[in-house]
């Protein structure tokens, strides 16, 4: 029984990572919004889908460059390992709610 439980825990803890827009929203709110000071919908709708895809290519190099320039106080975070961890999810979130996505602003 103990072995089965351990195997189940091991299986659960070893899931492969995948990008997720919902997670991206969470990460945006927690990590980026304090620097950017605009809500998630405003952030995502600043660019078109194709533009977000371009920004997040190659480990988000263009995103880091652009937003470090726009928000110098965020530069250190954007160049951190933590940002690299959240970048795929934030990319999914930004693409999902991009200006040309057809998704409307949250009712908040």
């Amino acid at each position: 029984m103990k072995k089965i439980v351990l195997v189940m825990i091991a299986v659960m803890l070893s899931f492969s990572a995948h990008a997720d827009a919902d997670k991206g929203k969470k990460y945006y709110l927690k990590y980026l919004r304090p620097y950017f000071e605009i809500n998630g919908q405003e952030f995502a709708s600043e660019h078109l889908k194709v533009e977000w895809k371009r920004f997040f290519k190659n480990d988000g190099k263009k995103f880091i460059k652009k937003f470090s320039k726009q928000y110098p106080q965020a530069q250190e975070f954007l160049e951190s390992d933590t940002f690299q961890k959240i970048a795929p999810d934030v990319a999914d979130f930004a693409i999902k709610y991009a200006a040309d996505s057809g998704e409307l602003a949250d009712c908040n």
């Binding site: 929203k25 969470k26 945006y28 000071e37 809500n39 078109l48 602003a105 949250d106």
Partner: protein, 467 residues
């Protein structure tokens, strides 16, 4: 290098440098036009999306005398046609048309019973009804930058038929990423009204800090058009008064991972049936029984810890407590009592990632006390609102995307064990009076009435298509 390329291109094309600059300007202008066009065709024009599902429910009620009532294969389909138009960055409209019915013949024909209260406005799109499309949502939303000129106070205002079902915490069992506005623990009905939301975080420095004022009308007293007296739409003193509700939703903190919300509301002129009246006249007439107050505190943790592993990252935990309090009119036995009565409820839930990319498991438990009364008549449960239960409710579900998030499957099991009667009733002394199930059964036997429901369960399979 870029400049050299430009010069080379100019030389090759035989253009002078000023002409090249003009060309660059033209290209930039064209790009801007294309961008605007993309925005308009994508986000700023009328959009439609569809949410269609087919469900099969296996439901069973165990009655107090040990007998059962069941339906092994209740097949139903529900269509939501969502629409939105964003006039500009500040002003948008949203609408939702709904159709929700059992397979086959409609409630209007004698093959099935009358619709009863299924067409009541609070639940008209949520219950199985006839083959018609209803308006579930229609409202506009204005997004303001500075409330009364204060740039630290961004605000939104909306007015119309509200997105007031499947609210905070109730969204997980339905497989929705987004929660609608009221807290699902105490309000889950369709509603007409307004809201004003103030984002306070810049002012207070608390992440996600916000305060929302809500108000609405749950019932309008008005005579009908072409009344014999010629007083169309005037108030009718012989009918129940308007039902109005005012409330606030305060979010002290929401950083995306930790989200806390406090809701309080007051609703007046709550309607219900009077047992004495039914006994005397045999007719079921609504009367005003009194007012209802409610306070609810809900909290959610979206992800346990930080980057420990994907399983904990994708785990959600939530807890919620709620208190309802009646304020009966003089001589009216609201929920069967002429005193102010308090009811309590708590609700716990967990949602964890499954074995594939986007599947998830959920487990929920809630308990309601003797006088607990919620506005959750529109909750998407065939056996009646589990949140409204005066007793214990258990639920387990599994959400599995079949084709991305466009086609999904849900398997769900709900079990409700009632301690008291009247869980899904209104506010009078007929439908809302709480009695222990055994006591109610004894009384029912004496009066020659059917036995009350002791417990209920629903095994549901849903296949859902969204685009």
């Amino acid at each position: 290098m870029k400049r050299l390329t430009g010069v080379a291109a100019a030389v090759l094309l035989g253009l002078s440098m000023p002409a090249m600059a003009d060309l660059n300007d033209d290209v930039e202008a064209l790009k801007q036009q294309v961008r605007e066009l993309q925005k308009k065709t994508g986000g700023n024009h009328l959009n439609f999306s569809v949410d269609y599902r087919v469900s099969m429910d296996n439901i069973e009620y165990e009655l107090a005398d040990g007998s059962t009532a069941s339906n092994d294969d209740l097949l139903a389909n529900r269509l939501w046609l969502n629409m939105g138009y964003q006039y500009n960055e500040k002003l948008l409209f949203r609408g939702q048309l709904a159709y929700n019915k059992a397979f086959g013949d409609t409630a209007m024909h004698n093959q099935r019973n009358e619709s009863g209260y299924a067409d009541f406005d609070w639940v008209v799109s949520e219950n199985l009804d006839d083959n018609t499309i209803k308006v579930k949502q229609a409202y506009f939303l204005y997004l303001g930058d500075a409330f009364f000129g204060n740039e630290q106070l961004p605000w939104t205002f909306s007015l119309g038929r509200r997105p007031s079902t499947t609210g905070f915490l109730a969204n997980h069992r339905e497989g929705f990423d987004k929660a609608n506005s009221p807290l699902g623990h105490s309000i889950n009905v369709e509603f007409d009204g307004l809201s004003l939301n103030l984002r306070l975080e810049e002012l207070t420095g608390l992440t996600g800090n916000a305060l929302k004022f809500c108000a609405g009308r749950g019932l309008s007293n008005a005579t009908s058009r072409f009344s014999p007296a010629g007083t169309d739409y005037a108030k009718d003193p012989d009918k129940t008064d308007d039902i109005d509700m005012v409330g606030i939703i305060f979010t002290p903190y929401n950083d995306g991972q930790y989200d806390v919300k406090l809701q309080a509301y007051h609703a007046n002129n709550m309607i219900g049936l009077d047992m004495n009246d039914i006994m005397m006249t045999g007719e079921q007439t609504f009367y005003d029984f009194g007012d209802l107050n409610n306070v609810t505190l809900s909290a959610e943790m979206n992800g346990v810890g930080e980057f420990i592993n994907d399983f904990l990252d994708g785990t959600r935990l939530f807890a919620s407590v709620s208190m309802s309090q009646t304020d009966p009119n003089s001589d009216m036995a609201m929920l069967g009592s002429t005193e102010d009565e308090r009811g309590y409820s708590y609700w716990l839930g967990v949602n964890v990632p499954g074995f594939f990319d986007d599947d998830s498991f959920g487990f929920e438990f809630n308990h309601g006390s003797k006088y607990w009364r919620s506005f959750t008549y529109g909750e998407d449960t065939m056996i009646g609102s589990k949140i409204a239960a005066r007793g214990d409710a258990y639920e387990a579900y599994y959400n599995l995307p079949l084709v991305d998030k466009a086609l999904t499957l849900q398997l769900r099991y709900t079990y409700i064990d009632y301690d008291y009667t009247g869980s899904n009733g209104f506010f009078g002394n007929a439908t809302g009076t709480p009695m222990r199930i055994d006591d109610a059964w004894q009384m029912a036997q004496m009066m020659g009435m059917p036995p009350p429901v002791k417990n209920a369960q629903d095994i549901r399979a849903v296949i859902r298509y969204q685009f």
